[in-house]
Symmetry: C2
DNA sequence: CACCAAATTTGGAGTCACTTAAAGATTTCA
DNA sequence: TGAAATCTTTAAGTGACTCCAAATTTGGTG
């Protein structure tokens, strides 16, 4: 099953468009670059761009598939004896220690994060990705526990796990946007994350009682 | 401080546009009605519509302010001795018992919910409303606990509370969309909600261990 | 090599949300 | 009443995205 000339060219063209688009977006901001400009820079027609990418946002957040599947995969591949939360907790800290980008907390995502922050369209798309991530994790949990089709528990657990991951990611992003050094944020984040996962595992029932 | 002719006319025009738009949207679907049609039906120019409503989505999800503030208000006005979760729990069941619409679980929101479900633009806007609701609750919790500016806890708690409310609302919507009777869904939902809030208060640490 | 069929690319025309600027029209108030 | 402030409309874009039919390119076959 060789890859013919046709397939290779398609892949190359798609990649070229995506790369050139990302370059322009990072340089000038997502909303300040038109699809027509991307097309011109990539030396194709506008219609060809839309042939490969359904929307302009897809040009920027291309490989969102991996991000959407992340938590579901971590749970699917968790170790013997590990609960869902324990698996996510472990993977999160592994990524933190390795400086991996998969939870959005590495160095060098600065400009990328800034471009997302300043564009309502990209923020909206980011929320969609998060929603899909939550759905996938919920389905995985339902599978793994042979849950009843209308058992809410997988959805509740998924939503809460995603909520914690989102809060931690957001915290990193906010402080990075404020100009703090990524490495020192990650150092702080370790303690914050410990408390966050503890809260997740043990519940928030005692929080904020009115005197 | 009387309301002058100008103010009254403005209020009336805005209301007329919103009412006529909602009628058209419910009848034919959000994406099948153009702003130009709304304008013509309301006997104003397109620019007047955009003068009152910043986007087409605002025509549909006008009074989202109340929805965004709901949980924050419930916590602000919680009773003596109540924790944040207890307050939300109580308010949720009050709404459920009263058949109130504020958590999206009354009769008669059928068509409205369907229109949201079938429109990507409206779903996107609904996610934005949920995100704002989460932010407001987080800020409220931070205020109420005099939390450190970079204490993550208010955000974590807010995200988890919102996650549970969202899951419950979603469950109602899914079953309503499948044609079930709202009253009987609400009956089931009572048990589901009890378990959901228990889980929220006590934690999900033991969920889904791998054998 | 030549040729056909399928897949890609392109150009062109159009829709729709939304913006901007300037010219009316209406309301307020001195 | 007349001028100032405020609304509304008209007109002319911009930009994402769609639809369609005409070119072009590629893969396989005789």
């Amino acid at each position: 099953m060789e890859e013919g000339l046709r397939e290779r060219k398609k892949r190359e063209t798609r990649q070229r468009i995506a790369d050139i688009a990302m370059g322009l977006f990072l340089q000038r901001g997502f909303d300040n670059v038109t699809v027509a400009e991307v097309a011109r820079a990539a030396d194709v027609s506008v219609n060809t761009v839309f042939n490969y990418f359904r929307t302009k946002e897809d040009l920027f957040l291309d490989r969102s598939e991996e991000s959407e599947d992340l938590l579901a995969r971590v749970v699917r591949e968790r170790r013997a004896g590990e609960t869902a939360v324990q698996a996510v907790r472990r993977d999160f800290f592994e990524a933190l220690d390795a400086g991996d980008w998969r939870y959005g907390m590495s160095d060098g995502l600065d400009l990328f994060a800034q471009r997302v922050r300043e564009s309502p369209a990209l923020q909206s798309r980011a929320r969609l990705i998060e929603a899909n991530r939550e759905s996938r994790l919920a389905r995985t949990l339902a599978d793994e526990t042979d849950a009843d089709p209308d058992d809410l528990t997988p959805w509740l657990v998924s939503a809460q796990i995603c909520a914690v991951v989102r809060a931690l990611t957001r915290h990193f992003a906010v402080r990075q946007a404020a100009g703090e050094d990524p490495a020192s944020i990650r150092a702080d984040l370790r303690e914050h994350a410990e408390r966050a996962f503890d809260l997740l595992e043990r519940g928030i029932g005692g929080y904020c009682p009115r005197p």
